[in-house]
């Protein structure tokens, strides 16, 4: 068998030319690139929607858009950022890095891999096209609570449902691929507890996706039946139950929240150990913490529904189970800090984003803990305090994790070092603007401004103006990121295989050349 491989002419195995390279590719690096660019484009589309929202909210009164369009913007902003930016970016990073980190030549199921990517542009093409239809796009919030999303929805909701189905298929196929790859294609000697943390984080995430994506598909199918086929799953007038929708949705929705953060945990763990020049502290407790978070995520869903009218015992159960999540999450933060302790620390751009991740994600964790306290949640629920909370865990949390990962691995992918000065400028502008945008939201929320309001009372005006200024600054700053990425692809100092000082000992990807060959690890390395 081995003789066959060695006599094969490797010269023919470069990428195909032109558009067909991208349409028909089964190469994990190409598909990773496609995912990352898709996510980057969606970041600007979803971001533009956020800019519309912030422009309208800059002053009280209706100036720029009408409430109907405003609701379409909040809905699509949420859907695009969750399903079109954060999730595909993590899948893109997984496609690039998992085979290289476990010493595999490619993903286990390359054709499936191609399909799971190309489903995504279809899904989002369908979703975004609804905005141009006469009735407008989905306008019921990204959580699409029935009956607003069924009986009272515009008819374009059917396109939305189809698009969610397609996204779900894409995620499930991607997850099957990742699990299969991790279990079957690790280099000899790489036992489970020797796997890099990013691989662990994705193994857990993939299981979460397989568990909950069918639930999401189920709930949108029930909507489809209610809307078109006369069933009454969520229609009280027909004997249905609108609250059932929320239970099913959040049974998907809460694990989904961790799907959007676990891979970031993996990424920042690698970055912190690299730039502290010290192995990650408490590797096994990091793995157990991620597993605990994943398991707990299935028993906390109703903390999104504390005002829905649950019995006292239910409210208390979901409060306690939610508070429990603070333990593994706290352990992770302590481990990151202990990794930095007595290290030899430098502050390259990926490290800056990771430090900001630890600090700001923890702030999001604190507000999450406050939200878990049921009686206090009666005051916080559905106000800007919640908006502040989940943007802290998703923007300086998930998105910073992705940006940090992009800077960390970009020299490996392209073979060129990015411009460190511009990277630091990008970091500081982003760091300042993200806080100017999202920190004041805590205050307007506590003071009583509900979320998803196109217009608001006068006492919230000053904070909203400040938030809008921060948001515009944040949005513009990301154009700088685009510029840096393109500049790095086109030119830059030649990157060493190791890229970062001492990284050669940290993972197999750093033993490959920068950029790595189109087909890497055709002979699997031996892990000791």
């Amino acid at each position: 068998m081995s003789t066959v491989v060695e006599t094969h002419d490797h010269g023919h195995h470069g990428p195909a030319k032109g558009l067909s390279r991208w349409l028909f590719t089964t190469n994990h690096k190409d598909i990773g690139t496609l995912y990352l660019w898709f996510s980057f484009i969606m970041l600007f589309i979803g971001g533009a929607m956020a800019m519309v929202i912030r422009a309208e909210l800059f002053q009280p009164g209706l100036q720029i858009v009408q409430p109907e369009f405003f609701n379409q913007m909040t809905t699509n902003h949420g859907l695009i950022m969750v399903f079109g930016v954060i999730m595909p970016a993590f899948v893109g990073l997984a496609n690039w890095m998992l085979p290289m980190q476990i010493g595999a030549p490619d993903m286990a199921l390359p054709r499936l891999n191609n399909l799971s990517f190309w489903l995504l542009p279809m899904a989002f093409g369908i979703l975004i096209s609804t905005l141009f239809m006469p009735e407008g796009g989905p306008n019921f919030g990204w959580t699409f609570y029935a009956p607003l999303s069924t009986t009272y929805a515009p008819s374009t909701v059917n396109f939305f449902i189809f698009s969610v189905h397609v996204m779900g298929v894409s995620s499930i196929l991607g997850s099957i691929n990742i699990i299969t790859t991790i279990f079957n294609m690790r280099a000899p000697g790489m036992t489970l507890m020797k796997m890099p943390l990013f691989v662990w984080s994705w193994l857990i995430t993939a299981y979460l996706l397989i568990a909950v994506m069918p639930v999401l598909a189920g709930v949108v199918t029930m909507m489809l039946m209610d809307i078109n086929f006369g069933t009454s799953f969520f229609n009280a007038a027909g004997g249905g139950d609108p609250v059932l929708f929320q239970h099913v949705f959040w049974f998907f929705g809460h694990p989904e929240v961790y799907i959007m953060i676990l891979p970031a945990f993996g990424i920042v763990s690698h970055i912190i150990e690299t730039f502290s020049r010290k192995p990650i502290f408490g590797y096994s407790s990091m793995v157990y913490a991620m597993a605990s978070i994943a398991i707990l995520s299935f028993v906390v869903w109703a903390h999104h529904m504390f005002t829905v009218g649950m019995p006292l015992a239910g409210e208390l159960f979901f409060m306690y189970s939610t508070m429990l999540i603070a333990i593994p999450t706290g352990v992770k933060v302590f481990n990151w800090v202990a990794t930095m302790f007595r290290g030899s620390i430098t502050f390259e751009t990926p490290m800056l984003f990771s430090i900001a991740f630890v600090a700001l994600f923890t702030i999001g964790g604190f507000s999450g803990l406050m939200l878990a306290i049921v009686p206090a949640d009666f005051q916080y629920h559905d106000t800007y305090f919640v908006v502040a909370h989940f943007h802290y865990v998703l923007v300086p949390g998930a998105l910073f994790g992705i940006i940090a990962g992009a800077y960390y691995w970009l020299p490996k992918w392209t073979g060129n070092m990015y411009d460190e000065t511009l990277g630091k400028l990008h970091f500081w502008l982003t760091f300042i603007s993200v806080n100017v945008t999202f920190f004041p939201m805590h205050f307007v929320g506590l003071a009583g401004m509900p979320r998803r309001y196109p217009d608001y009372a006068l006492q919230f005006a000053d904070f909203n103006a400040l938030i809008s200024v921060g948001a515009f600054m944040f949005g513009l700053t990301q154009l700088l990121f685009l510029f840096i990425v393109i500049k790095t692809i086109r030119s830059g100092k030649q990157a060493e295989p190791e890229v970062w000082e001492g990284a050669g000992d940290l993972g197999l990807e750093w033993t490959l050349s920068s950029p790595p060959p189109y087909h890497s690890f055709t002979v699997q390395p031996q892990v000791k």
């Binding site: 009164g61 209706l62 409430p67 609701n71 306008n139 609570y145 009956p147 607003l148 009272y152 009280a236 139950d241 609108p242 502290s276 020049r277 192995p279 502290f281 408490g282 590797y283 096994s284 005002t307 009218g309 006292l312 208390l316 409060m319 508070m323 333990i327 706290g330 302590f334 800090v337 202990a338 930095m340 007595r342 290290g343 030899s344 620390i345 430098t346 630890v358 600090a359 923890t362 702030i363 604190f366 406050m370 306290i373 009686p375 009666f378 005051q379 559905d382 106000t383 506590l446 003071a447 009583g448 998803r452 309001y453 217009d455 608001y456 009372a457 006068l458 006492q459 000053d462 103006a465």
Partner: protein
Amino acid sequence: MAYIKKVFTKFIFVIPFLFSSLIFSESSDYNMPVGVTEVSESIFELHMVIFWICVVIGVIVFSIMFWSLWKYRKSKGAVAADFDDNFWLEIGWTVAATLVLVWMAVPSTQVMVEAYDDAEGEINILITGHQWKWHYEYLEDEVGFFSNLSTSQEQIDGDVPKGEFYLREVDEPLVIPTNTRVRFLITGNDVIHSWWVPDFAVKQDAIPGFINTAWTNVPEPGIFRGACTELCGIKHAFMPVVVRAVERDEFDAFIAEKVALAEEERLLTSKVWTKDELMERGESFYATNCSACHQANGQGIPPVFPALVDSQIALSDSSRHIEILMEGVQGSAMAAFGDSYSEVDIASVITYTRQAWSNGENGDGVIVTPQDIVAYKNRIDL
């Protein structure tokens, strides 16, 4: 630009005080309201306790982190140690985190038990969320009314200056007596709404097909303003909650007046109405209840909200017109008005929409009277 400058100058001065004001003032624009009830005060205290626990943990963790970043930076020649685990440290902080959580859970449970109490009240009020207004019904006295936003569209559009209570004012607030246990029974008529009064710390979803309960006991008279907090469609931001708490005797007088008014309404049904009387009443009803969707000019916002001008139903099918008003249209945003409004209101708004704009000239000009509505109801009852 002047506006941006004004806001920025303001914030330059605010920033240093931001944290101190959060810390020292009990009630501020930056923090949760203390509220006026015992429950709201307990919740505020709980909120501050949890907040301070988080602050202390944050200060400890971040101090260690930033101190480590400073102390062990490579540019100062720090050499990395090579430890990567410490079993007892891991156990230690896991146990510490658990203890802190138990410390938080105890008062949280106490306050929750205090806030959660669905025993009957002395006064029981049925609150129904409609797109996009609240309906209040005093169950003991069988009187009720709608509470609509009273801020004008001109203020929202910026054509006239905004008033002090912009978007926080209604035509008719809910009135409750002080020092009385008031129970709210909360439900939704169409989609899910959520009834929130921060000063009472009451927020409860208004869900079609469900009746949720909440309660309050307000010690002092006052006007308390809240909002709808569950996305309920286009006018989600435009259906505020306003509650007026008054002394008991004033409340009794208010109820007596409402009961008398309701009696008057019932008498109006049997009165013989002229077209002009119906038109006048219908026009004001239309402005309050219909124009949000069907628009003041009757053109609607097709295809979601159909136009009434030149609609076949408004021109030539008065029996279907009555049916729509009474039963709503399934699968659309058109609600059933039959149970919520008097026969006079329904008849007058049908008459109005059949005569207004160009419909009077183009249609059959049928006048629908309150007696027609009574007849419809009797027919349905059979």
